[in-house]
Amino acid sequence: MPELKPTNGFEEVFRKVQTLTDTPMHYCPGCGHGVVHRLLMEVVDEMRIQDKTVGVAPVGCSVFAYQYMNIDMQEAAHGRATAVATGIKRVLPDRYVFTYQGDGDLAAIGTNETIHTVNRGENILIVFINNGVYGMTGGQMAPTTLAGMKTTTSPFGRDIATMGHPLKITELLAQLPGAYYVTRHAVHTPTAVRKLKKSLRMAFEFQEMKKGTCFVEVVSNCPSGWKMTPQESNEWMEKNMFPYYPLGDLKVPKVRMN
């Protein structure tokens, strides 16, 4: 990274946080993962908990998350990130623990672990990136793929009769008593990005209070998996994903944050 200096007396109002490493991200152009990585690390930087945060990386596109986040991280087997995070949190209860998982990891192979972790009310934060396909392996159908959506394993569109309904895992988890804060966001506009950052900050603060599991879903795009340009994919997401996965809080605690 070249050294950046303010020009002609201008003051710096935004720059990459030091909790992100200088490694260029391997994600496709326009992928929402990069924004969520940055927001998580901005929150860690603002709360000054860089040496007390442990992240758990999944299998999926974000498998290399540990290369980009300058914190302690642990790689988990496919779908088992919440189980690994449970272990870390129980051994080191003073650490801030979060998992970062995609829809193939959390909602398909890891459904069991996810539901039981939230049911036990472990004091961890689960960040769930939902883009409706398995991006890493080439855009196959995921449990969250929309009805009629074309993927490489559902070339004629997802057929509800044979392939089932898209899984609303966030609504499912919001019903469990162990879940403390459940919310759904997106990162396609500056406003959405600001809202997500506030939510992540709240989730980390709830973890400090030992309240229960916080679950933040981010509806994201997958330009490569959906075969679109980044801008088209964002428009498609607004038109098709948001009606089925409406943005907003699903379970909000009654305490007032100061």
Binding site: T7, F10, M25, P29, V35, V187, T189, P230
Partner: protein, 84 residues
């Protein structure tokens, strides 16, 4: 008007054009040249930037650093102009 500017890390930019779409001043555009990774990178094409940080917020690769004129500076120039 508040003046600002952006500094874009050319070798990090992947040319996804998300920042171009959210810029209210339409001051960002793609370059003619490719960067070391083979992408057309984003650069400033107009001096109308206000430093609103919209582009930096949506940038997935954290390639954008934003600078803004300090609040007092604009007022100061106005005072200097009106004194004589």
């Amino acid at each position: 008007m508040i003046r600002g500017t952006v500094l874009i890390a050319q070798e990090v930019c992947k040319g996804c054009e998300l920042c171009i779409a959210v810029c209210p001043q339409e001051c960002l555009g793609l370059s003619e040249h490719l960067n070391i990774r083979g992408y057309r990178y984003v650069r400033l094409i107009q001096e109308t930037c206000t430093g609103c940080i919209n582009c930096a917020l949506v940038c997935p690769d954290s390639a954008i650093t934003v600078f803004r004129e300090p609040k007092g500076a604009a007022k100061k120039t106005v005072v200097v102009q009106s004194t004589p």
